[in-house]
Subunit: 160 residues, 2 copies
């Protein structure tokens, strides 16, 4: 087996790892289908009001997050690597079609592995410098990303 | 067939398209093997003094260009998409392992297609804004990228 291309650095990166009791195939579906992703992708009472997914390298991944007061925050990036049921990589450092983005913040790697109980779920946020990592941590990375995993598991169990 | 993810914009991007009389397989080899790439990748009398290639998404693509006076200019980025003998995408907007880079400049797409004569060769430089496109054009994009294609064809014919 080839070594991973990832070069995780605790000074620059944030990692969330958990085991969850839903199968990898449904986690993959929740991450890669707009109507599913909208149900869980941001901590409630925030919501996702728009989502575009073109699941191929350079394809668009865009979401619009909406605050409880109704203010919308669009995010746009593209997918980089797609290994169904195992690995999904995307970034906001490149716009769709691989175009360098004006305000790069982070790349994300989602790694899934089937376990006896369900899925080993690993999400990694990769930043360009310590300031970006710190800012992401202070925005509530651990609490937020854990909350949305709980929401995702709940949505999967509810059949959504 | 799916439409291309590329969204080429003449205000932002630069495109070089030519037909060359060498087969796609050898063009692919020239682009993806350090000892071959070193022979042609920069216009002479500049040279490539180091080259690292890890041909997978997120894998390193690094070259050190050396001026005739001996000054070295290292470049580092990563591969984004690899379709052997057809399509190679890389960027300097992401460092190896998908890490956002401090000074993104462009992404490059190489598209190859077999023809009766040899290869349809298309190289596209994708920039984030007009200033970057303009600067790349003023650095001599068309002359430089054409020169290195000539050098590459010559090196392939010489068996290198």
């Amino acid at each position: 087996m080839m070594s991973s291309v990832l070069r995780i650095d605790p000074k620059l990166d944030l990692v969330l790892e958990r085991e969850i009791d839903v199968p990898v195939e449904l986690v993959w579906k929740a991450w890669t289908t707009p109507e599913h992703l909208k149900n869980w992708f941001v901590p409630k009472p925030w919501s996702v009001t728009a989502c575009q997914i073109d699941l191929r390298p350079g394809g668009i991944f865009a979401t619009t997050m909406c605050s409880p007061e109704g203010q919308e925050f669009p995010n746009e990036g593209c997918y980089l690597e797609i290994v169904p049921n195992r690995r999904l990589v995307f970034t906001d450092a490149l716009l769709p079609g691989f175009r360098p983005a004006p305000k790069p913040f982070f790349s994300a790697v989602l790694e899934l592995e089937p376990t006896a109980r369900g899925t080993r779920y690993r999400a990694i946020a990769i930043h360009g410098d310590e300031a970006a990592r710190k800012s992401h941590e202070e925005m509530g990375f651990y609490h937020g990303w854990n909350t949305v995993v709980d929401q995702m598991v709940e949505a999967i169990k509810a059949g959504g």
